[in-house]
């Protein structure tokens, strides 16, 4: 189980992130990327337990005497989705500065980027990133809280 997890998790994460980045043009996007990322974390959790997740991924010291250490993990997740929500809202507010309606999106073409040759950077990506963060943060919160029981 652990061996499989070691092999699978990075792949899932990479796929998730590529789904997220490519989402604008190919199937994928913030939702799917986010949910898939959560799945990756879920696998880690099931294979190694929550403490590993906290030590290994978040780089925190776990105080063994403190009982279930869920709260700090949860806190990190909660921050993530709070920030994600903020990103989404701010990216929505940004067009207001340019006197465009709320949530107006636009895009620019970047030429000569390695590998991709030319890459479109849509401002919608920022909003999508907010979506991604909220989904990851929110669902992970649910998962870890329930899992910690």
């Amino acid at each position: 189980m652990r061996t499989t997890a070691r092999a699978i998790v990075p792949i899932v994460l990479v796929v998730a992130i590529s789904l997220f980045v490519e989402g604008h043009n190919l199937p994928g996007g913030g939702f799917i990327g986010g949910v898939l990322t959560v799945t990756a974390f879920g696998i880690v959790y099931m294979a190694f337990g929550l403490d590993f997740l906290e030590r290994g991924v978040l780089g925190r010291e776990v105080d063994p005497g403190k009982g279930p250490s869920r709260d700090r993990v949860v806190l990190a997740y909660r921050r993530l989705f709070a920030y994600g929500f903020a990103i989404a809202v701010v990216s929505g507010l940004a067009p207001l500065v340019f006197e465009r309606p709320f949530l107006t999106q636009t895009f620019v073409m970047l030429e000569g980027v390695p590998i991709y040759d030319h890459l479109e950077v849509a401002s919608a990506l920022a909003f999508d990133f907010g979506v991604y963060c909220v989904v990851v943060g929110g669902l992970l919160t649910i998962l870890s809280v329930v899992g910690a029981e």
Binding site: H24, G28, G29, D71, F85, F102, Q105, G138
Partner: protein, 817 residues
């Protein structure tokens, strides 16, 4: 000359701003806040005074798309009413600090009083139907707060509820009437004038004939009359006004004599030019005279000085309504002039009653007498205003009552009204006799012998005496030179309310005429009957007690009690705490409604099939249904969960077959997560399985009904579906690259075209997470206290019951977001 928008808006807004600031101001000034209220009222008064002589409407854009504007119309009638409200407001604010000394909750009192004053000014000046309605209901709300000022007192709460129930209920009738009016006006005068009362009043004949054409004249008249009648305490809903005397006396003086109750009268005067006619005469003259007589008799039966004044107020309101009801110019003169006179003498009388109650410690008429020895100044004030109320010449009340008699006599000259032609004047005289009676009774509190039981009576402070004195002086001034008051104030009000205004003249009669004779009869009979006051008083009371259904209040109690009992019983029957009861009724009702709707619309004739479903899709759906059956039949939780995810994965395959890769991906991953979470939760819960066998049949029947409804709905809707992609889908597909810069149309739709929806969805996810977090982490088990910045919040709920922690989830979600 047209009015100045800024000044008018400032005059309306100032009291509201002051009301909002009251709690802060009160911290600094304490009980002296009342004097600041005086300053605010005087400022509004001054602002309005600068508009004296102007006429016209000014507008502030509000909801342009609906043609609703904050439109103000200034003319003599509006200014008269608004300045009365602010002027008397100033006096009441001066009076309040001494009267309300040492009471709790004064910030609330002053804030409500200020807001009330602003609403009255708003009603008076508003020319937009919506604005009128809003200000109208605001006065009811402020009145509710003020009547229920003594929150610990049951009778005060009862009275507040009653006043709210009746005046707000009446306001709803008014709203319907106003909307009908606006519909007609929108048709006739153009959409721009749909809510504009000023324009309607400029074209009264067009409006009247348009209303009659559509058969809406009588409904509109009736609805507006109900609104105005409830507000102005007309029979049969007059009973809320005496109950409202549970309010502090300054409130009674301000709201329930001088201003709020007159809003109805004011509004009747306002729409009078537009709706006047024979029906108008029958309705308002009858209503007004009935109220005038019934309430005058009730006032004689009163045992409490405030009760006496309250019934007398209702009676005088009846007089004003009757005055406006008579279609001749004398009618309008009565209404406008008496509005002014009544405000002067009745507010003063209430303030006097407040002084008596405050200084003598009782309001029982029986226990009071001979107060002139202790309260000489008050006695002098009362002399002027009580005789004015009685309508004794040469006091100001006489002139307006004389006009009423004249209007009543004139009525038969203008319309063919048969027996009513002499009944109206007769009733007016009959009611006025009682007015004379109770006015003399009130005056008698100050003359005669002082009862021994009456304790020491203090001298009132100047701030209590000055306001009624000012009012009495004004009343005296009007009495001495009524023509000047008419020229200055009444004439301009008359022009707005009368159909054919002309220069108005009043003065003491120099030769005999029918109205003079009527006045003589009234005063003579009143004075002659006064010695029998005690017997009349007892007789009326005995009659009321013997037959309770005579009293409108009895009916009110019966209806309200009946309704709340019925409501409670119904709630217990419907709301029995069982989920299945709610679900059953909701689902059954939905099914019944949907199917009935289809049948009624004749939609159940699926001729063509709108959808092509391929064989693979059919197979996948079949497996999904089998999965669902397995879920329903599952013996254990684990089995159910596993079969549930079979269903989920089948749906994912369905998405793939239906060309929706994004959905399929999401569905797959979500299904996995759901499986994990279900397993995690279920692992904590022991297996239990018990079903009442008897209910399965009923549940199955309902399920089949729901399924059948859905089946029919799908057939009907797919049949009605337009062929090919919809316009919006087409547009999104074409705009995806040029507009959103992405080739995945679904994603572009989510983050770009419909970004706002997605934002809302994020909020839902965030809320769900926070709720779960709160449910689990902050349940306050007393074990390891959570670290980090949420520690304090968790600690605060530590001792509380867990259910509370759950409800905290919502608000905290808002903070975090």
């Amino acid at each position: 000359m047209s009015p100045d928008l800024a000044v008018v808006v400032a005059a309306v807004a100032l009291p509201f701003v002051a009301a909002a600031l009251t709690p802060l101001v009160f911290r600094v000034f304490g009980e002296r806040t009342g004097f600041l209220g005086t300053a605010v009222a005087l400022a509004s008064f001054g602002l309005l005074a600068t508009q004296y002589g102007t006429e016209g409407s000014v507008a502030l854009e509000w909801i342009p798309s609906l043609n609703v504007a904050l439109r103000f119309y200034v003319d003599g009638w509006a200014l008269l009413f608004a300045m009365l409200a602010t002027g008397i407001g100033a006096l009441v604010f001066t009076y309040s600090p001494a009267y309300m000394h040492g009471q709790a909750g004064l910030p609330r009192y002053y804030a409500a009083l200020l807001a009330f004053m602003g609403s009255i000014v708003g009603v008076a000046l508003a020319a937009d139907l919506i604005a009128i309605f809003l200000f109208w209901e605001l006065t009811s709300l402020a009145s509710f707060v003020l009547i229920g000022y003594y929150t610990a007192d049951d009778s005060s709460q009862y009275a507040a509820r009653m006043a709210m129930f009746i005046t707000v209920g009446g306001g709803l009738f008014l709203l319907v009437g106003l909307l009908l009016l606006s519909i007609v006006a929108g048709d006739v005068l153009g959409p721009g004038a749909a809510f504009d009362l000023a324009t309607m009043l400029e074209n009264p004949d067009t409006m009247r004939s348009a209303l009659r054409e559509r058969g809406l004249f009588i409904p509109v008249l009736g609805l507006l009359a109900i609104g105005a009648g409830t507000k102005s305490a007309q029979v049969p809903v007059h009973f809320w006004l005496p109950n409202a005397m549970a309010a502090p006396t300054p409130v009674s003086a301000f709201l329930h004599s001088a201003t709020m109750v007159k809003v109805g009268v004011y509004f009747i005067g306002r729409v009078r030019p537009m709706l006047v006619g024979e029906e108008w005469l029958f309705l308002f003259a009858t209503l007004g005279l009935t109220t005038m007589t019934v309430c005058a008799i009730m006032a004689v039966a009163a045992t409490d000085i405030k009760e006496l004044l309250a019934y007398s107020t209702a009676s005088h309101l009846g007089l004003m309504v009757a005055g406006f009801g008579f279609t001749s110019v004398y009618g309008a003169e009565t209404g406008v002039f008496h509005l002014l006179n009544h405000a002067l003498f009745k507010a003063a009388l209430f303030l006097v009653a407040g002084i008596v109650a405050h200084e003598a410690g009782t309001r029982e008429i029986e226990e009071l007498g001979g107060l002139r020895h202790d309260l000489p100044v008050t006695a002098a004030i009362t002399g002027v205003v009580a005789l004015s109320m009685a309508g004794i010449p040469p006091f100001n009340g006489f002139y307006s009552k004389e006009l009423l008699f004249e209007a009543a006599v004139e009525a038969s000259h203008h319309h063919e009204i048969g027996v009513l032609g002499w009944l109206y004047p007769a009733v007016a005289v009959f009611g006025s006799i009682f007015t004379v009676l109770y006015s003399l009774r009130f005056l008698s509190l100050f003359v005669g012998e002082r009862p021994d039981a009456l304790g020491h009576v203090h001298r009132p402070p100047v701030s209590l005496l000055a306001p009624p004195a000012v009012l009495a002086l004004l009343a005296a001034a009007v009495s001495v030179d009524p023509q000047r008051a008419v020229d200055l104030i009444v004439q301009s009000g008359l022009e707005a309310t009368a159909v054919d205004p002309h220069a108005m003249h009043v003065g003491l009669p120099t030769s005999y005429s029918t109205p003079v004779g009527m006045s003589a009869v009234t005063i003579g009979a009143g004075v002659l009957a006064y010695p029998a006051y005690g017997r009349i008083h007892d007789g009326v009371r005995a009659g009321l007690e013997a037959v309770p259904p005579i009293r409108a209040n009895w009916w009110y109690d019966r209806v309200v009690e009946g309704l709340s009992d019925e409501g409670r019983a119904f709630a217990e029957w419907v709301h029995n705490g069982h989920l299945r009861t709610y679900a059953t009724w909701t689902l059954a009702a939905t099914c019944a409604l949907a199917l009935t709707g289809f049948v009624a619309a004749g939609a159940i004739v699926p001729t063509t099939m709108g959808l092509e479903v391929t064989v693979p899709i059919a197979l996948v759906l079949l497996v999904a249904v089998i999965g669902a059956v397995a879920v329903a039949r599952a013996d254990t939780h684990i089995a159910g969960i596993l079969t549930l995810s079979i269903l989920g994965f089948m749906i994912a395959i369905f998405y793939i077959l239906a060309s929706a890769p994004d959905l399929a991906l999401t569905q797959l991953v979500v299904e996995t997560l759901v499986l994990v979470i279900f397993l995690l939760v279920v692992e904590e819960i022991p297996e239990r399985y018990e079903i009442e066998v008897g209910r399965v049949a009923r549940d199955a029947a309902l399920s089949v009904a729901v399924g059948a409804t859905v089946f029919v709905t799908i057939l009907v809707t797919t049949d009605a579906r337009p062929d090919g992609p919809t316009e919006i889908a087409r547009a999104y597909a074409e705009q995806a690259v040029p507009g959103g810069g992405g080739t995945n149309i679904v994603n572009v739709t989510l983050v770009d075209f419909r970004g706002f929806d997605t934002l809302g969805e994020l909020a839902v996810i965030a809320l769900a997470s926070i709720s779960i977090l709160t449910l689990i982490v902050m349940r306050g088990r007393g074990d390891a206290s959570p670290a980090g910045d949420d520690g304090s919040r968790a600690d605060s709920t530590d001792d509380g019951p867990t259910a509370d922690a759950g409800t905290d989830g919502g608000p905290s979600g808002g903070e975090d977001a």
